[in-house]
Amino acid sequence: MTPLLQVRDIAKFYGGRIGCTDVSFDLYPGEVLGIVGESGSGKSTLLNCLAGHLPPDQGEVLFDTRADGPRDTVTMSEPERRMLGRTDWAFVHQHARDGLRMGVSAGGNVGERLMAVGARHYGDIREQALDWLDRVEISGDRIDDRPSAFSGGMQQRLQIARNLVTGPRLVFMDEPTGGLDVSVQARLLDLLRGLVRDMGLSAIIVTHDLAVVRLLADRLMVMKSGHVVEQGLTDQVLDDPQHGYTQLLVSSVLQV
């Protein structure tokens, strides 16, 4: 089976400082990869390089496109990359405000990607929007409300709906539960797991929260100071950490 994503030797430097370096991995359809590390580990830099938000200084990111097979998204033209970002890829931001149009209604937010790829039937667009709001557990009677009237958890769920409406195959998530109340986090995690399984999504999730990663990710990559210090099955890395830093990280988690 062809990997959905093949990452080879990605590196990003800020002058003499290492953003991230020497990152290589394969991601297969249906797999969820977690990237953990503390502040400054380079995980967000890596995610942005992979998602096309930041140009890496080295390396390739080969995505198995529907039409042309594996293509390097780093050297792809900008129109193609933007098109990928609207259809086959999705990016869930840590702050919902960065991923939503706050001045547009919830229905408009969900419908935008559909309209961007040519949907021209108002009734159909609205119906799809209602369907997705239901899937992310937002009441349908809020379809015409602006996100500014929503709670943080609802905004985050709306962001997920907006991203998934075009059926992407790869979702990037940057601290998807950061800043949310604990009970709200639980609801969101459950939702994400269900969607990943039902839609056969692959996902790359950056987080500092090991509990999130244990619940959501099949595989785990641990980063420190821009380097990947360990990778493997999530439960193996967390239960039998090999690298000294991973051992420290795991033992530092507060038990409730």
Binding site: A186, D218, G232, D239, D240, Q242
Partner: protein, 232 residues
């Protein structure tokens, strides 16, 4: 009914290296060998800390091996790619640990049905099987729509077992499956194990309860024999 060898372990070795304690090396296993055939149940014995759970976790891929091989069906877990192990866990190898770890808020019925849903089983069929198991294990129907995180220890253990038996795994690892269960439920679990054996599953179990062990295990293996002598 014994069939082909389903689980084959050769020369298995493991050490823990504690980097934050001055890189202390703790060898826990050396030269482990084990064969389990389809339809056979092997019990692991040995004193506490001898490495029973460790061996089980290594077979599941939860712990890394430092040497040797662990073949489950066609896959050598000690050497396999993460996604091969993931596929193995989904289709072939089941594991009932001592702890129930679930996403909060998911109803018990869904927790138990999940292994079948992950295989693409239609929801109705998966839930029917889950209901059957929950009933057998005497979990009252009023609890099926609640998350098991609020249940008692015994109830959680029974949900854990139900989940472990939802899919007919060809290979099954059971870590203390009858712990914290009363006589009635212990009986249910033992008959589930016998049922699985009859269906051709290769089973490795850790049982503190000698009666239970004697009932379902065809033979026992003492892991103390695999424990390396540690430097004083």
């Amino acid at each position: 009914m014994k069939g082909e060898t389903m689980i084959e372990i050769r020369d298995l070795e493991k050490s823990f290296i504690l980097h934050n304690q001055g890189a202390a090396v703790i060898p826990v296993m050396a030269g482990a060998q084990l064969d389990v055939a389809a339809g056979e149940c092997v019990g692991l014995t040995g004193v506490s800390g001898a490495g029973k759970s460790t061996l089980m976790r290594m077979i599941y891929g939860n712990y890394l091996a430092n040497g040797g091989s662990i073949k489950v069906g066609e896959v050598d877990v000690a050497r396999a790619e993460p996604r091969e192990i993931l596929t193995l866990r989904r289709e072939v190898l089941g594991y009932v640990s001592q702890f129930l770890r679930v996403v909060p808020r998911v109803p018990t019925l869904t927790v138990v049905a999940e292994p079948l849903l992950a295989l693409g089983t239609p929801v109705a069929e998966a839930e029917a099987r889950a209901k059957e198991l929950l009933s057998q294990l005497n979990i009252p129907e009023r609890l099926w729509s609640l998350s098991p995180t609020t249940f008692s220890g015994g109830e959680q253990q029974r949900v854990n077992i139900a989940r472990g038996f939802a899919h007919r795994y060809p290979a099954l690892l059971l870590d203390e499956p009858t712990a914290s269960l009363d006589a009635k439920n212990r009986e249910v679990v033992l008959s589930l194990i016998e049922d699985a054996k009859a269906g051709g599953a290769a089973i490795i179990g850790i049982f503190h309860d000698e009666a239970a062990r004697d009932r379902v295990c065809d033979r026992v293996v003492d892991v103390t024999g695999f424990t390396p002598v540690r430097a004083a």
